[in-house]
Symmetry: C2
Subunit: 319 residues, 2 copies
């Protein structure tokens, strides 16, 4: 992992690096740059916005924008893969954005994280080996660790800057990466899955950014073929998605439209009934006795309800 | 009703009035004014925003803002009660705002409207007499008229400008106001309910704006006492709300946080089980045979799922 040194510069923390690696890929944006004031931050976001606010404009959701007020910029820089920004917001706690899209907010991101973890892991009896693709920030790992049956968690995060910034600014998540059951890999998730031992994982959780930018491969057929091979019979995969047979959804205030979907699939083998969870974490007394703070969003009923679709979505999926 | 004449002025339609009435209330903002260009529109919104976009900043949701791109401003003016604006948006169709808050979007408002109508009316066996408070735009009325058992609908809208603008720009809704079962009343909903015949209505639907501005009374105790009196035994009321015993929610992309809640209550009498609808409109063959376009959001399963709350909301309501 690249060595990164940080120092505070006024209200903004900048990161200076001692070089960058390229891993032989030619399409990375090289030249990590730093900004040291709010104006540059705001101008760096391709559209003009209200001063002191962050606005998300996305090609995926034209004609609308969600904005949050910035209290303090904590980090901004370019990694080998994407623009990375972290700021303290007025009402959502710390906010991480990648290429101008909100990935996680400390106070508003829990529905996304709880659902992407507990929908798949609540649906299989004893999850032991879990692969997380993406999720370098650590919230997904936090949720996976609620299960007392867990023996091994591999996390493959492509962007070392995301990892370093997250460990610095979310110290309450950083310790989980030192759990002996956890192996952190800095690298390409698609390549990792392709090379994985066949039938190894009980569950694969794809906690990636949107299908533009570095996560594009994670939405394409070769990736899902590799995922199927890496899962045990009756293993499960959950990824944020547009539609599928087992499509679930939840509400996240800071994502475009306020909603995000999940696609859940299982390999052939012991039948998995996603809509009737056999292993709901809110019913797990081991969990209740643990030191982890309580679930804020997920419960057994919410799990079941997540698969109930509005009429328009039902028609789209059935057609 | 006040006589209003409209004429087109460039790309903007302005309304000139031949005087205004005050109804003896002294706290109305008098002096209806018109604007005739986009700059004035944008400046009229207390915060600076991206040119050509509408941004909603609300005291109820500080530190965040939702914005939509304006294709064409259709109407802007001050009524006796509030600022009224209607514009064609880039992706949500026509958008109606009151006092700077999005009330309805043509392409994104259907979850709100379908749920506020079919949650209560789907929960009672044969809705015949329905009172709508607010809803001058006409989408709520459209949904109520799906029920073949309906004999009488009273709509009480406080703002004649909302009614006039809506009839002009939503012609496909306007005809419903001429249905012989419909009585349109221009006036104060709280006063109307207080004066209503005891035990008259099967259902009361409070389709109001937020509890700031002219709709404030509709969120307070005297109003709900009057509502209870105006309902028959086992009658039901549905209002957008924060929390209650029968609290349901749905997702609306253009509302702050992407979510809106509903409070459902029934009077003493025949038991109403909101969570297991006895009269779901999607199962009604009369409806299927009707000329109305099909439901986009509501179905029996979505009705039941709307009452399933995330853990944090469940704790708040139980505490």
């Amino acid at each position: 992992m690249e060595v990164i040194s940080t120092h505070t510069n006024g209200s903004v923390i900048t990161i200076t690096t001692n070089g960058h690696h390229n891993n032989g890929k030619s399409d990375h944006r090289n030249g990590r740059t730093t900004h040291d004031n709010d104006n540059k931050l705001l101008l760096g976001n391709s559209n003009s916005i209200k001063p002191g606010w962050f606005s998300e404009f996305s090609a995926l959701w034209p004609g609308e924008a969600f904005s949050v007020k910035i209290e303090k910029l904590l980090f901004q820089g370019k990694s080998d893969y994407q623009d990375v920004m972290l700021f303290e917001s007025a009402t959502y706690g710390k906010v991480l954005t990648l290429d101008g899209a909100i990935q996680h907010t400390e106070n508003g991101g829990f529905p996304y994280t709880e659902m992407i973890v507990h929908l798949p892991l609540g649906s299989i009896p004893t999850p032991k080996k879990v692969l997380i693709i993406g999720g370098g920030i650590g919230f997904t790992l936090f949720e996976v660790l609620r299960y007392s049956t867990i023996e091994k968690i591999d996390i493959v995060e492509i962007d070392d800057v995301v990892v370093d910034v997250s460990r610095k600014f979310f110290p309450y998540l950083a310790a989980n990466f030192n759990d002996p059951r956890v192996t952190m890999v800095l690298g390409d998730g698609a390549a990792f899955v392709k090379a994985a031992q066949a039938g190894y994982y009980d569950a694969i959780i794809v906690d990636s950014s949107d299908p533009i930018g570095p996560a594009k491969d994670l939405f394409e057929r070769p990736f899902f073929e590799a995922v199927a091979k890496a899962l045990r019979p009756g293993g499960v995969v959950c990824t944020q998605a547009e539609s599928s047979v087992n499509y679930a959804w939840t509400t996240v205030p800071t994502y475009p439209t306020g909603v995000i979907g999940y696609m859940l699939c299982s390999t052939e083998g012991p039948e998995v009934d996603f809509k009737n969870p056999v292993n709901p974490i809110d019913k797990d007394t081991t969990h209740v006795k643990s030191k982890l703070e309580s679930l804020k969003f997920y419960n057994t009923d919410i799990h079941k309800a997540a698969f109930i679709l509005p009429s328009f979505a039902r028609s789209l999926i059935e057609s």
